[in-house]
């Protein structure tokens, strides 16, 4: 089976609503499987909008988004939700966790909604919580005391690592991280990204990492500057 690209966009145009100006106009973008891509863009450059399109939460006004060879706009809403939960893990900037669930339950959460990720996660014969624990261990959260703490009492760095474990569980093909490090201090950032890389490599996941932090750029093999590929002026967004 020929490997399709992880992400492939062509002639993508997007506006929020009819009558509003376009926010995105990208003629071409392709990300290969296993690639680690840094997407740089100032806030308001349409970065979050692009990520929402890649995730299939929003549909392009024109053009097509292909994820893992699947044209997203050909799926109906429910299928898109399915597709997303099966193939994409997310890490947000802040407050990624469900406050009323435990650390392990937070990590295992995607497996409640995606059968394929549940199967992936338990393939080795592990229970979901074993797998969650294993991922947390890899991310430096082996401490039992930490794991049993209410998530609201974890530090920001710890929360982001829990969120990362959650994005990785069940080995989705694509990880989308939207400013995941902006709340961390710079030492933590380096460590966090290294752990993230390590895990993506292990699972073979493609990583899209959106940030406006130039210092991190050098750690990535490929950089995309949104202002360069987006034909719409950066004052819009």
């Amino acid at each position: 089976m020929p490997q399709t690209a992880a992400i492939q966009l062509s002639n993508l145009r997007f506006r929020w609503r009819q009558g509003l100006p376009e926010v995105l106009n990208i003629s071409e973008l392709e990300v290969a499987r296993g690639e680690r891509v840094f997407i740089r863009g100032a806030s308001g450059s349409g970065k979050s909008t692009l990520l929402a399109l890649l995730a299939g939460v929003n549909l392009p006004t024109n053009g097509e988004v292909n994820i893992l060879g699947q044209a997203i706009s050909q799926l109906n809403g429910s299928r898109r939700d399915h597709f997303r939960s099966d193939h994409i893990g997310f890490i947000f900037q802040l407050f990624n966790l469900i406050p009323y669930l435990s650390v392990l339950e937070n990590v295992a959460l995607p497996c409640r909604f995606s059968r394929s990720r549940r199967l992936n996660a338990t393939r080795s014969g592990n229970t979901l919580h074993d797998e969650a624990r294993r991922l947390l261990e890899h991310l430096g959260m082996a401490d039992d005391d930490l794991i049993h703490r209410p998530v609201t009492e974890l530090s920001v760095g710890q929360q982001q690592r829990v969120a990362t474990a959650r994005a990785l569980i069940g080995a989705p093909e694509i990880i989308i991280a939207d400013e995941p490090t902006s709340a961390l201090d710079s030492d933590m950032r380096q460590l966090f990204i290294r752990l993230l890389f390590q895990e993506c490599e292990r699972t073979g996941s493609t990583l899209l990492f959106a940030s406006h932090d130039k210092q991190l750029e050098s750690l990535f093999e490929r950089h995309i500057t949104l202002e360069k590929i987006n034909r719409i002026g950066q004052e819009l967004g």
Binding site: S78, F90, P110, F113
Partner: protein, 419 residues
């Protein structure tokens, strides 16, 4: 289902608000069921009071009125009926037995009923159960009395004790028939009917204590001792009412008509079962009003839940976005929020049932001793299950409102975290 366990955990996380909602739903549910229980049990209690009596006869007034004062000792007769009328009906060839009833006096707040020994022989309650004695036996002489179980218990009376009857039915009657005390010769077993709160004396006893009385007053200077009274003719001159048992029930309507057409005196004969049903028809208006009010209380409880759920929704948009990002579909969000309301309603119902049974346990002896109403502790009746089902369904439907809003939010917000 996985989503419901999320809903449960989410509620647990907001346990303070959740328990307030639970409390209001539980209280309203227990109120609803409590009112229903009272309604059903008071009906049963009324229906069980008289059995096997074909006709009740009294002075002409209203059917319900006659039933209430003669059988339930509620209210007073407006008129008496004469002894001769009673005798001529009692001697009617189709009449098997009669129980004369003479009311109007009291003892320590308990009604005194003048009757004869046929009362102990023919009176039936519940499903044709007859009276039985806890101690002693029926009265045989003029100044003897048989107490209902509860009256004896409340006043702590024993066989052989002497009691004084008060004139009139007020609790604090100052005119006592002190000169003619009655000896307690029998105490009846409990029946769960007004019999339990009745002091029974012979008709002749009623007549004897009123010797020398006219129109409720003792004539000045006319003292007739207990012994002197015995020598007089103690045949009663009047009765309050009497119960009739017929040889054949087929004759009921005919005898009823004959009594109602009785020429010497305006009499009223009623079928107690029919009069009781008329009473229900009458009471059902009040009962339904009460039921509507309690249903409104339940509605208020559910609306309280709705308010809290809606108010909390905006703060939860982040939570919804996170759930969406890990693969929850909008319908999962709908299910989560609606499920929370459903869980609250169901747990509220369960706690309401617990409160009801706890309340019944506590109130049972009190209600029985103060209102003569026995509240059995039984599983919910079909009608009560139906009511509970209705509350649960309403909870579900009401939960759809915040559920649908959350659904709309999650469609609009997607994974964008707005807050």
């Amino acid at each position: 289902m996985a989503i419901l366990s999320l809903a449960f955990k989410s509620l647990l996380n907001r346990r303070f608000t959740a328990s307030l909602i639970l409390l209001s739903i539980a209280l309203s549910v227990s109120l609803l069921l409590g009112v229903e229980r009272l309604r059903v049990e008071s009906r049963n209690s009324f229906a069980n009071t008289i059995s096997g009596t074909d006709l009740v006869v009294g002075a002409r007034s209203g059917a319900i009125n006659l039933l209430l004062y003669s059988v339930f000792r509620i209210g007073d007769a407006t008129n008496n009926i004469s002894w001769s009328s009673y005798r001529s009906i009692a001697d009617h060839p189709k009449v098997a037995w009669t129980i004369p009833l003479s009311l109007g006096d009291s003892h320590m707040g308990f009604r005194v009923l003048g009757t004869n020994r046929d009362y102990f022989l023919h009176y039936r309650y519940s499903s044709k159960r007859r009276l039985s004695f806890h101690a002693g036996g029926p009265f045989e002489q003029v100044y003897q009395t048989v107490l209902g179980y509860e009256a004896a218990k409340a006043l702590n009376y024993r066989i052989g004790q002497r009691i004084v009857i008060a004139h009139g039915t007020g609790k604090t009657s100052f005119t006592l028939h002190e000169d003619k005390p009655f000896e307690v010769v029998g105490i009846l077993n409990p029946t769960g009917t007004p019999v339990d709160r009745t002091v029974h004396v012979p008709l002749e006893g009623i007549e004897a204590i009123h010797q020398g009385w006219i129109a409720g007053r003792q004539l000045a200077g006319l003292q007739i001792s207990a012994e002197q009274a015995l020598e007089r003719d103690l045949t009663p001159k009047a009765l309050t009412a009497f119960l009739v048992g017929l040889k054949s029930k087929l004759a009921t309507f005919q005898v009823q008509r004959e009594i109602n057409d009785y020429r010497k005196e305006p009499l009223l004969a009623i079928l107690p079962g029919v009069a009781l049903q008329q009473l229900w028809d009458l009471m059902s208006v009040a009962e339904n009003a009460l039921l509507v009010v309690t249903a409104l209380v339940v509605t208020i409880g559910l609306v309280g839940m709705l308010t809290v759920m809606l108010a909390g929704l905006n703060e939860r948009r982040r939570e919804m976005a996170i759930l969406r990002s890990v693969g929850a579909r909008p319908r999962h969000i709908l299910l989560l929020v609606t499920g929370e309301s459903l869980l609250l309603s169901l747990v509220g119902i369960a706690i309401g049932l617990l409160l009801l049974y706890g309340g019944l346990l506590v109130a049972q002896p009190y209600v029985e001793s103060h209102f003569g109403l026995y509240l059995p502790i039984t599983l919910p009746a079909p009608r009560e299950w139906f009511m509970l089902g209705l509350v649960g369904t309403s909870g579900l439907l009401i939960g759809l409102i915040p559920g649908y809003r959350a659904y709309r939010y999650s469609l609009a917000d997607g994974m964008n975290i707005r807050i």
